[in-house]
Amino acid sequence: MLVTTIINGLVLGGTYALLAMGLTIQYGIARIMNLAYGETIIAAAFLAFVLNSTLGVAPLVSLLVAAPAGFALSYLIYGLMLHPLVKRSKGRASLEVDSILATFGLLFVIQGVMLVFFGGNYISYTYMNFGIDILGSSVAANRLTALILALVLGGGLYLLLTRTLWGTALRAVSVAPQSAPLVGIDADRAARFAFALGGALATCGGVVISMYQTFTASSGVIFTMKALIVVILGGVGNLAGALSAGLLLGLVETLVATYVSPGLTLAAVYFIFLGVLLWRPSGLFGRAR
């Protein structure tokens, strides 16, 4: 029982971590607070659902479509809708307000389209729905796959950002955007790529979620919120922090739901969130790194 709970907690936590990394990249590097982030996630979950139920495509294969599509669409959205805001903004604060308003609108557009196509019902499909024995407890194979995917994608992104010159350049933009041009970095282009990369992570997260959870056209807001909480818990812009805070949040939610009461999971999440805001406002894991 405990082993199953912990693994389920890690699965959920791994997913949160993945989602939070995308959001923290968009916010930390591109400086866009993307309120439509959760809708990107859900759109990808629907994509995996449709591909699976009409063509029998496995979600692992859907990732190969979802990731590039998330990247390309986010790239376009940044270019068409957000770049004009960036260009006319006078400072970080005004860009923050503008981008929140603009992506708030985008949230309803994407959600509306999904509602038209899929209605408001809960959606799920079955994939790898059998148990695997781990230390004497049975864990659903789809959850285990989701955990492995989240760790591989999250770990890969972490290595990309910390071990390559390109990734170091992205982190430099997040640390000191005004200094980036001094070393020949086109900060504008870096922001566009970072936003697109964050979008690709969101769509990967959406496919992963669809493997083991039910969702509806209007679940996006919850995921944006959870991702945002994880980002703040981990310290804005802190990738390793997002990873650890995501895993922690998933574990807490699952443990509370199993051993206390499913009705108290959200309360527990906000309790931790409030505590961190009050006592460690820069996040559990401190400054961006």
């Binding site: 170091t168 350049a169 005004q178 041009p181 001094l182 070393v183 020949g184």
Partner: protein, 239 residues
């Protein structure tokens, strides 16, 4: 090599530079003198592409026009700026800062060789290479800033008050490093408060006052100029 003609810069209604023209020849060291607010930083920033000059200005490096080109492309053309306040990436390590110095395409191939040169110039950075630069002293941060600029293999290195806020020992170390850079044949354009030290380093200099060029000459003649002596070298008019 560097040719700046009729450069004017305004911030809204405030005019910071009016019709300034300067030249730096290949391998030459040139110093810009001027009181606080004279427009020295604005001049370097306009050359670097960080602020837009008024229409009619001409900035060129070896006949390659640079006017109106974004800062990251100016660096790619071969002009590096160490700005006032250093502009380093505080949350990144020394070696990450240096790696990024060679981010420009022009610098990638030669990066390993240039890194060796930077570590030779500033041996102190070798043992600190995995340290976050925000945790280092002002002098060490300035070494990172200069090292990072050198990593881009510039033809012209511009420095905006590199000795500002440094301990006297550090200022000495800084100028001996600049001398080595100069002897290696790199052109320098430097704005400095330590006027005596920078005139020792430079071949020529310009004097800016309230956004206008009011004088220029060889380092030796500027050292003897009564106006320069009174304003910057702390000498009485009749001394």
């Amino acid at each position: 090599m560097l040719d700046v003609a009729r450069l004017s810069v305004s911030y809204g209604k405030h005019v910071a530079l009016t019709d300034v023209s300067i030249r730096v020849a290949t391998g030459e060291a040139v110093v810009i003198l001027g009181a606080n607010g004279a427009g020295k930083s604005s001049l370097l920033k306009a050359i670097a592409g960080l602020v837009q000059p008024a229409p009619g200005a001409g900035v060129a490096l070896d006949d390659k026009p640079l006017t109106g080109i974004p800062a990251h492309e100016v660096l790619e053309a071969g002009i590096a700026l160490v700005p006032e306040g250093r502009g380093i990436f505080g949350d990144l390590t020394v070696s990450e800062n240096l790696d990024l110095g060679a981010y420009a395409h022009r610098a990638r191939k030669e990066a390993p060789r240039n890194r060796d040169l930077v570590y030779q110039l500033f041996p102190r950075l070798v043992e600190r290479r995995h340290q976050r630069v925000a945790t280092m002293s002002g002098g060490e941060q300035q070494m990172v800033a200069i090292g990072r600029a050198l990593m881009s293999a510039p033809r012209l290195l511009m420095l905006d008050e590199p000795s500002l806020g440094l301990a006297p020992v550090m200022v000495g170390e800084l100028f001996s490093a600049l001398k080595q850079i100069r002897h290696a044949g790199m052109a320098l354009l430097i704005v400095e408060q330590s006027v005596r030290k920078s005139l020792d380093l430079a071949d020529r200099g310009y004097v800016l006052e309230a956004g206008r060029m009011v004088g220029n000459g060889t380092a030796a003649s500027l050292r003897e100029d009564p106006v320069v002596q009174r304003a910057f070298l702390g000498m009485a008019a009749d001394a």
